[in-house]
């Protein structure tokens, strides 16, 4: 801008100088030419009068230095010339000024030299005898004047231009200063030219707009951060070069990375071949998923390509913890396999007996034994199916009525139920302790007590004891079932609550258990929000304690 101002000032100064030079030259020249012509005219009329008076003798006596006189007769032949011999001169009848004088009495013309630097002015007057007297003077043209004045004019112009240059520089700096000092952060607070006020207003508005958009963006970012912070799934956003754009705490934990990994390559936090392959795959095909094991947990990772306007701008990686799902799936598969096996065993046995009877291979006296066998196996099946139904009901978590249950009374009832079984093994079952009332499902409490006592009797020694003690411990109600039985080896203690798990597989048949008892107990206790604890010493016996909140 300074340059532009400077240029226009210098140009204007130069232009004005040139124009005034031309105009002054023109005026001056015009003035001098006029003066000269008037002089010539008066000179000519004097000479004409003199020639008419005294003829050629006047001309001969005249020795003019400034001008030249030529006398021409009616035919144009030169009679006399003050500078050359008139006889030798050519006919002047065709000259413009002479022809004009012959016609009008006076004539005038101007002729330039070939260089244009000199011109000759001619004036002619017709005398009374019809001859013509012509006066001429040579003078310089305007171009000669220009050439002559060029040097001083150039000096003046150069001086003027330098001066105007300096002035222009100062001026433009002066104009620009307030513009350079504008505070664009606060455009409206500037005190400057009113011409740029609209611009400042505009800048102010844009400032506001940008601030608004920034805060909106910040808000969106915060929202996004809030959402991803709380997610239990790991979320990683990658750009097209696989650099981490965003990573949430769950993903940081999963890849055991630091928050400083943002903007670094994903390989720096996870370099497993499978995962980088999956990301490449997703970038090519849009989606890929893999499962991987990390920190003892199983994760399923979904990788999706992110596109914007047809170009790939990155990928998003989502990691789900599927440990429980995978475990549940495994448990379900095992359970199904176990159930099928357990159901098949008594059925095989029934089928075997029935086939023997069908083929008449059973003697009449053995018949009751076989029928009895079929009945017990069928009974086993029924018990098994009942247990499975109970378990599945507990699994479903269907609503059951909660009521006040007296644990001591419930224990008594259970013992009464099992009395015959205990008597058969000569086992003494006792109930002691205080009455404790808990809020629970009566049926489930009965279930728990029955299964615990049943096990305590089944896996006991002949003539052994089973003690059931009910009581309080701090603010909990406790049922403790203690037997003097065979006990459970430590390595199996954790597994006895699993479905169909039996410590001694060979004993299952004779004891008639389904392998579901303790599993039902565990589930029932869970349903009642209680806890269970097992302590056992092989050969000495087992204590199982169940706590309920009062």
């Amino acid at each position: 801008m300074t340059k532009k101002i400077f240029k226009s000032i210098v140009l204007a100064a130069g232009g004005v100088l040139c124009a005034s030079f031309v105009i002054i030259m023109g005026c001056l020249y015009e003035y001098f030419t006029n003066v000269q012509s008037r002089q010539l005219e008066s000179e000519l009329s004097l000479a004409a009068a003199a020639v008419e008076e005294s003829g050629q003798t006047y001309l001969e006596g005249l020795k003019p230095e400034q001008y030249r006189l030529t006398w021409v007769d009616q035919n144009g032949d030169v009679l006399y010339d003050t500078q050359s011999d008139g006889k030798t001169m050519e006919n002047h009848g065709d000259r413009e000024e002479i022809q004009e004088a012959m016609r009008n009495g006076v004539g005038k013309s101007v002729r330039y030299s070939t260089t244009l630097l000199e011109k000759t002015i001619y004036y002619a007057q017709k005398l009374k005898d019809g001859s013509v007297l012509r006066i001429s003077v040579s003078g310089v043209t305007v171009w000669f004047l220009v050439l002559g004045m060029l040097q001083p004019v150039l000096v003046v112009m150069t001086g003027a231009l330098i001066l105007s240059g300096i002035l222009a520089g100062r001026l433009s700096r002066h104009i620009m200063e307030p513009l350079n000092n504008l505070d664009l952060e606060k455009p409206l607070e500037n005190d400057t030219y009113e011409e740029i006020a609209p611009l400042l207003n505009r800048i102010h508005k844009q400032h506001q707009q940008i601030a608004m958009q920034l805060s909106e963006l910040q808000q969106k970012n915060d929202e996004f951060a809030q959402i991803t912070q709380g997610m239990t799934e790991g979320l990683v956003l990658l750009n097209e070069k696989n650099r981490i754009v965003s990573i949430n705490p769950a993903a940081l934990k999963l890849f055991s990375a630091q928050p400083s990994c943002i903007d670094k390559d994903f390989l720096t936090i996870e370099r497993s071949h499978d995962l980088s392959g999956a990301i490449q795959d997703a970038l090519l095909n849009g989606h890929s998923e893999i499962t991987m094991e990390r920190n003892g947990k199983e994760y399923q990772l979904h990788v999706n390509r992110i596109e914007s306007g047809g170009t790939v701008i990155g990928s998003v990686l989502l990691a789900f913890d599927i440990t429980e799902t995978a475990n549940a799936e495994r448990n379900r598969r095992e359970f199904t396999a176990n159930v099928s096996h357990e159901l098949k065993t008594p059925l095989q046995s029934i089928m075997g007996s029935a086939e023997l009877m069908e083929n008449g291979l059973v003697k009449a006296e053995d018949m009751p034994r076989f029928v009895g066998h079929i009945r017990t196996e069928a009974q086993r099946l029924v018990t098994l199916i009942e247990d499975i139904i109970r378990l599945s009901r507990l699994d479903e978590g269907s609503e059951m009525p909660f009521e006040d249950v007296d644990l001591y009374e419930a224990a008594k009832e259970t013992v009464a139920e099992l009395q015959t079984a205990a008597a058969a093994e000569n086992i003494k079952v006792t109930v002691s302790g205080e009455r404790v009332c808990v809020r629970a499902v009566r049926q489930l409490v009965g279930e728990i007590l029955f299964n615990l006592c049943d096990n305590a009797i089944k896996y006991n020694k002949k003539g052994g004891t089973v003690e059931i003690i009910t009581g309080r411990e701090e603010n909990m109600a406790v049922i403790s079932v203690k037997d003097s039985g065979i006990g459970i080896p430590p390595e199996y203690q954790a597994r006895v609550f699993e479905r169909f798990y039996r410590v001694d597989k060979s004993r299952s048949k004779e004891s008639g258990g389904t392998g579901l008892g303790l599993s039902i107990v565990k589930h029932a206790v869970q349903y009642l929000h209680g806890s269970i604890d097992l302590r056992s010493t092989p050969g000495e016996g087992t204590v199982i304690r169940v706590w309920f909140r009062l």
């Binding site: 696989n242 390559d265 390989l267 720096t268 370099r271 497993s272 071949h273 980088s276």
Partner: protein, 217 residues
């Protein structure tokens, strides 16, 4: 402009190295698992990984040479590239030795070396060393590199124990002589892998500090 392109190429180099390192980790982990489970199928995976590691070595080598010729790096950049050139050699050796282990495992007829428990510890320690040295490279962590270097003593100690227990095995069961020798070879390969991991860790330190082992200043 030139510099940003160079930076990009250096980042590519880093990524490729990380991937190659990850493959080495995978190869040795698969070899250890194949030994522990007597799983011959896993050995195939080790062999194919070894092939890929070799291919990767060629690729990184070409990239390094291209960088050296075209960019004429100096100072830290030169260190990084020359260290990369050295590291890939060690990584390639790790891959090949994992493949050698896998090959021996196929001759073991499903036996898992359980007679000599130390060999499992060795496999684990060597595997960990490789992971640590690659981690040190990825995170540019001098402490991790030092940890990896120190762990080599443990691997060497374990190798001596393996040797002792194998001598005992041969003494007790002369028939198992061939088997014991195979196990000894495997142990030796693990020991070598540990040495290569140490080399990698040392090159990581060199690329960070400009000082290579034993040198001062």
């Amino acid at each position: 402009m030139m510099r940003s392109r160079f930076d990009e190429q250096l980042a590519t180099l880093n990524n490729e190295l990380t991937q190659m390192g990850a493959m080495c980790e995978e190869a040795i982990a698969a070899a250890s698992k194949a030994l522990a489970m007597g799983d011959v199928k896993l050995t195939e995976k080790v062999l194919s990984l070894d092939e890929e590691i070799n291919r990767m070595e060629r690729m990184i080598e070409t990239l390094c040479l291209k960088l050296l010729l075209q960019q004429q790096p100096v100072a830290g950049d030169l260190r990084q590239i020359s260290a990369a050139l050295k590291m890939i050699t060690d990584m390639e050796r790790i891959g090949t030795q994992a493949a050698d282990i896998a090959e021996i495992i196929t001759f073991l007829d499903g036996r898992t070396g359980e007679e000599c428990g130390y060999i499992r510890f060795m496999a684990e320690a060597a595997s960990q060393m490789v992971t640590e040295s690659i981690d040190a490279f990825v995170k540019q962590d001098a402490l991790l590199a030092d940890t990896a270097i120190e762990r080599d003593d443990e691997v060497d100690r374990l190798f001596l124990q393996v040797k002792a227990s194998l001598i005992q095995l041969i003494a007790e069961n002369p028939k198992d002589g061939g088997y014991a020798l195979d196990l000894l070879m495997i142990a030796k390969y693990f020991e070598r892998i540990g040495d290569h991991a140490v080399n990698i860790a040392e090159w990581v330190l060199f690329s960070m500090t400009g000082v290579h082992k034993g040198e001062t200043g």
